[in-house]
């Protein structure tokens, strides 16, 4: 790889490592696995760099690679078996106790519900509501039609509601998601 290309990749990787790891964490629910997914995805982007660097939306290309990497890993049975919805206790001592309690409660509820829904629906929820991608961008990342994104989003939100209800959070479900 030429030095200019290497420099461009280095800048891209530094700027995107954090966001990719956060998305990966929301996909899989484990920071160590998320780190592996981010690294593996960036290696794939690096290998394809000479072909892909002229793309307008490289960040979305990297998200696409991340999603495929995660789904591929999920196909491996030892990965399927290690899935866990256990919520770790990671208190933030610097925050206001009331604020912290409310935030932790919301976080734990959402995390448990998110990990309970099917992977592709989880992915679409993360891409739409965490990465703030449009329907068209999400379709590009998921390599599907915009109609599929809309239906998967609707199913994902339904599944999220069901998971919240199953977790005893019916009050949250009553306040419906905006369409």
């Amino acid at each position: 790889m030429k030095e200019a290309q290497a420099r461009a990749f280095r800048e891209f990787a530094v700027a995107n490592a954090g966001p990719l790891r956060r998305s990966a964490y929301l996909f899989c629910g484990d920071w160590h696995f998320a780190e592996d997914l981010m690294q593996a995805s960036l290696v794939k982007v690096y290998r394809a760099w000479s072909r892909v660097q002229r793309q307008d939306r490289l960040g979305n290309y990297a998200r696409q690679v991340l999603l495929r990497t995660w789904l591929d890993e999920k196909r491996k049975p030892w990965r399927r078996a290690e899935f866990s919805a256990t919520v770790p206790d990671t208190p933030d001592v610097s925050a206001d106790p009331d604020e912290r309690a409310q935030r932790d409660w919301t976080r734990d509820v959402v995390r448990t519900a998110l990990l309970a829904i099917p992977p592709k629906q989880r992915a679409v929820v993360v891409l739409r509501y965490f990465d703030d991608l449009s329907v068209a961008e999400t379709a590009q990342v998921m390599r599907c039609s915009e109609g599929t994104v809309k239906s998967q989003t609707a199913r994902g939100l339904d599944a999220l509601r069901a998971a919240l209800r199953a977790g005893g959070h019916a009050d949250l479900v009553e306040r419906k998601f905006a369409s």
Binding site: Y25, L26, Y46, P77, R103, P118, Y129, V173
Partner: protein, 264 residues
């Protein structure tokens, strides 16, 4: 919960993210080193195929000299650790099915039925056989134009419980036999061209206590059936204990991988 609360909830999930010690130069160096290792492996494989071909040719030649009536055993295989010489992938008659979502789901149900039929025939000692509904990359994953479906077979033997995974890939959507062995560089891998023009690739892999034996059948229509035997049922939410060895044989996995009913 409003849409905003959902966004806030997702954002809150990553507030306690551990520090990121990311070194792009290390990542690039590792990627370059891995690429060099792959190239080296391909070079070694090229040398191995010459040696393997010579090793196979010599006994056949000697057999021909010693016994004029001797014939090559039907189904005899050439075992190498490199590509299959003369085998073209994607094949000339590659079929890329353009299935609708409904057709993919129908195929998934058909494969489940075929697996229920084929598995007890291939592994007659298995009991309590249960076959999952086939799906794509995740449970319930069906989409238009899908080229991959897989399903697990759960079963018991005298040794204990275990599972076999059956994966059907259409449209030559998997790497060639040679590349499969390169990708599985941490596994033992052998390529066995068959007299009917198909190719079998057998890989054996393990990590800690887990053992996986995979047989892939590369067919002329571009379908690859990959059947993996495990020494535990790792497809269950709570995996079963590891057995000392995989309770199905390579021959049994070959019988499944080459079953004509398992296709899409």
């Amino acid at each position: 919960m409003s849409e905003q609360e959902l966004r806030d909830g997702l954002a809150a999930l990553v507030v306690d993210e551990p520090p990121l010690n990311f070194d792009p130069d290390a990542l690039m160096a590792n990627a370059d080193a891995a690429a060099r290792r792959r190239r080296t492996l391909v070079g070694v494989s090229g040398a191995t195929v010459v040696i393997a071909a010579a090793a196979v040719a010599l006994p056949i030649t000697l057999r021909g000299v010693g016994n004029p009536n001797a014939q090559t055993t039907p189904g005899a295989v050439v075992t190498t650790t490199a590509g299959a010489p003369g085998f073209v992938w994607p094949p000339a008659h590659n079929k890329v099915p353009a299935l609708t979502v409904e057709q993919v789901e129908q195929t998934a149900h058909k494969l489940q039925t075929e697996a229920r039929r084929a598995f007890p025939r291939a592994v007659p000692t298995a009991t309590e056989v249960g076959v999952d509904l086939f799906a794509g990359e995740a449970e319930g994953d069906y989409h238009a134009g899908q080229l991959n479906l897989n399903g697990a077979v759960h079963f018991a033997t005298a040794q204990g419980r275990a599972a076999v995974d059956i994966e059907v890939n259409a449209g030559a959507s998997t790497p060639s036999p040679g590349k499969t062995c390169v990708h599985e560089s941490d596994a033992t891998c052998k390529i066995m061209p068959q007299q009917d023009g198909t190719v079998l690739v057998v890989t054996r892999w393990g990590q800690d206590q887990l053992q996986v034996l995979t047989v892939r059948h590369f067919r002329p229509d571009g379908v690859v059936v990959a059947v993996s035997g495990y020494n535990a049922d790792t497809f269950l939410p709570k995996p079963t204990p590891y057995l000392p060895r995989i309770p199905v044989t390579e021959k049994q996995l070959v019988a499944l991988a080459t079953d004509k009913g398992l296709t899409m």
